[in-house]
Amino acid sequence: MQTPIATTRSATGIPTGRLAIWWVVASEIVIFGGLLLSYVMHRIGHPEWAIAQAHTHTFVGAFNTFVLLTASFTAVKGHEAAEKGDGKKAAKFLYLTMGGACLFILVKSLEWTSEILEGYTIQANGFWAFYYTAAGLHALHVIAGAIVIFFVARDAAKGRNLQRVEYVGIYWHFVDIIWIFLFPLLYIAK
């Protein structure tokens, strides 16, 4: 398939890929927005959920926050390198970001395993239902991000499609920001 002329045009002056990624982020924001708003309304209506919430592992959550933020930082570095046309370096940074994503998922699965073994399953009560649903949806985005970043990094290493480094970066920041909302709401606001 050839690239259509349409794809090469830019009536707004903004690259089409960047436009698209912003619209993706917009549509995702409303998904998480709906979920989080539902959670907050319920949480306000159920003060007793604080007891369940006390069983979350705040330290683990904080560690994961740190992992994600670091991964965001390397994504920014990757973008910088890509701007300068250094695909190799950009790829290296992206692989670091991907590593961060994997670490996040690893920590998360250990955390969940211990919680489930303690009996706090998704059916346990309303809080745990929201906890697993919101964090799970977020984790899916982390996994998807890791996969996409892998392919983009592989291309970037060969010097191809360097503009995409920026786009996955935008997406990754979004995933990060969602976590910044999730972490206090699920772990801290007791």
């Binding site: 398939m1 259509p4 002329i5 009536a11 549509s27 709906g34 059916q123």
Partner: protein, 580 residues
């Protein structure tokens, strides 16, 4: 290539692939050409319209002749009745109105009307259709699984929808939910494509106010869809977990709240009705401008009213929940917003009507459909005001008055609007001219019975007859209304029979209709400057069009012809034209 794709399209339609080897079919299924994808959406939507119409036939027969075996179907049990109406409502909205109005017309026309050779992300476009096709397969097969199709209405209120103990359709309800979710994904993918294409891929010279109305409307609709569907996707995940993982998001006994779903659903559900309204209005505007030979009466006014409708539509959702047990003070707020939204829509209607003023109106088939849209939609619109007035809705809620209200909006949009667009762009899509006489027979054979189906339903509603009841013999106060129900059903059968005229016309034209010229209606917009049907890539790469003026310059005083295509360079130094 274009000829070949038209042929495969046809083969696809009739399910007979004998004269095409697998290779051709595969190529067709995997094409990334926006026109092929448009055809895929169009024919899938057409097929689903026939399914939806058939379902309507089955349950209307049951309502008119309760307990009798329905020809071509059989007995309608209460459980089946619920499944039938649920499938009818969901299919007509999600698998007919959306794919045809947004995906089919949007895909076919956006690149052509803005002078591009394709969408900006052709492979994303193909993926969108493939996900959509999957959703079609899931929703159709959900009707045949053990336990039967989901019967909790298209609004799927929990706890009924959340628990198999209550709805008795463990598989059907999850599959319904999955099909709807897949459909949402398909339209999110498609929407991103439409929006970015319109933003970035316009022909040189085409400024924002030179874009024809249809691309504007489809893109506005896509934005609305994207911003309203998110919370419902979150809600659908929660509902899915309630159904299958035993969570209690909507179960009050376990700290959940059934009303939450209603908010999430209608926050999407109300914008959704304008999501399908706007593209239909776009079609109607193109047709009316062309056949009235008139510049639109206030291009910017139309854009602003459409945008105002889009924004306001996010603030009216709870008018579906006046009686649902929400805080009664909230009802007052939503009454105000609901009535305010009538203002941009009224203005939009007035502008469409005023466009006729000073025109030179030719009543060809597409124009008849477009005018009928206007005439009929007004009925649907003004009856919405009765429902929006909270005090009156206490009585009218869930009655056939609501039903008649929204069929008077949806039918003009999804059926009349579609036919307007289909007959108008048929020459461009298939390169043949439809027969006008047959078209007019089909028009009158559809419009007249339409009113005889749904005007009686208003009366039934005012008498207190409510929706989603499989047999009214159990209600002493409603028994004497049977003749009205029979009238509505007979009108439906008549209308369905007249659809054969339409199919006959299309097939006959396809076989031996006269060839269509490039620009049969002497229209201004860019899609009429390519061959009919347009080849792959639309224009030769070195002759991509440039745009010099707005799309609706009919009967311009500086010009001899009564039309002035957008791509024709000005003959002399442009005179400072009057304000657009």
């Amino acid at each position: 290539m274009a000829q070949a794709s038209a042929a495969t399209v046809h083969a696809h339609e009739h399910g007979s692939h004998e004269h095409k080897e697998l290779h051709g079919v595969l190529k067709y299924l995997w094409s990334t050409d926006h026109k092929v994808i448009a055809m895929q959406y169009l024919f899938t939507g057409m097929f689903m319209a026939m399914v939806g119409g058939f379902l309507a036939y089955v349950f209307r027969m049951q309502l008119a002749f309760p307990g009798k075996s329905v020809p071509l179907f059989g007995y309608v049990s209460p459980g089946r009745y619920n499944a039938l109406i649920t499938a009818h409502g969901s299919i007509m909205i999600f698998w007919v109105a959306m794919p045809v109005l947004i995906a089919a017309f949007g895909n076919f026309l956006i690149p052509l009307m803005i002078g591009a050779d394709d969408m900006v992300f052709p492979r994303l476009n193909r993926l969108s259709y493939q996900v959509f096709l999957l959703s079609v397969i899931v929703i159709l097969s959900s009707l045949f699984v053990k336990g039967g199709g989901f019967g909790g209405a298209w609004t799927a209120y929990p706890p009924l929808s959340a628990n198999a103990k209550y709805n008795l359709t463990p598989l059907g309800s999850s599959m319904w939910l999955m099909a709807v979710a897949l459909e949402f994904v398909a339209f999110l993918l498609g929407g991103i494509n439409f929006i970015t294409t319109l933003m970035n891929a316009r022909a040189p010279g085409m400024k924002a106010y030179d874009i024809p109305m249809l691309p504007w409307m489809v893109v506005l609709a896509s934005i609305m869809f994207m911003l309203s569907v998110g919370p419902l996707i979150a809600g659908a995940i929660m509902l899915f977990f309630d159904q299958n993982l035993g969570t209690g998001f909507y179960d009050p006994a376990r700290g959940g709240d059934p009303i939450l779903w209603q908010h999430l659903f209608w926050f999407f559900g109300h914008p959704e009705v304008y999501v399908v309204l706007l593209p239909a209005v776009g079609i109607v505007l193109e047709v009316i401008a062309t056949f009235a030979r008139k510049k639109l009466f206030g291009y910017k006014t139309l854009l602003y009213t459409a945008a105002a409708t889009a924004v306001l539509s996010f603030f009216v959702w709870a008018h579906h929940q006046f009686i649902a047990g929400i805080d009664p003070r909230m009802a007052n707020i939503f009454t105000v917003t609901t009535l305010i939204i009538s203002i941009p829509i009224a203005e939009m209607c007035f502008v469409i009507i005023a466009t006729l003023y000073g025109g030179n109106i030719r009543l060809s088939t597409p124009m008849l459909w477009a005018l009928a849209f206007m005439g009929e939609f007004l009925i649907g619109g003004v009856t919405g005001i009765f429902l929006g007035a909270s005090g009156a809705d206490i009585y009218l809620h869930e009655t056939y008055f609501v039903l008649a209200h929204f069929h008077y909006t949806f039918f003009p949009i999804a059926i009349i609007g579609t036919f307007a667009g289909f007959t108008y762009w048929f020459p461009k899509m298939f390169g043949k001219m439809l027969n006008d006489t047959l078209g007019k027979i089909h028009f009158w054979g559809t419009i007249i019975p339409f009113n005889f189906i749904f005007i009686p339903l208003f009366i039934l509603g005012l008498e207190g007859q409510q929706r989603r009841i499989y047999d009214f013999q159990n209600f002493p106060e409603l028994q004497h209304l049977q003749p009205i129900r029979i009238l509505a059903t007979i009108s439906l059968v008549v209308m369905l029979l007249f659809q054969f005229v339409f199919f006959f016309n299309v097939i006959r034209t396809w076989i031996k209709g006269p060839k269509a010229p490039k620009n049969p209606w002497h229209s201004n917009t860019l899609e009429w400057t390519v061959e009919s049907p347009p080849p792959h890539g639309n224009w030769p790469p070195d002759q991509m069009p440039k745009v010099y003026r707005g799309p609706y310059e009919y009967n311009h005083p500086d010009r001899e012809d009564d039309y002035w295509p957008q791509n024709i360079p000005p003959e002399r130094e442009p005179t400072p034209s009057p304000a657009r």
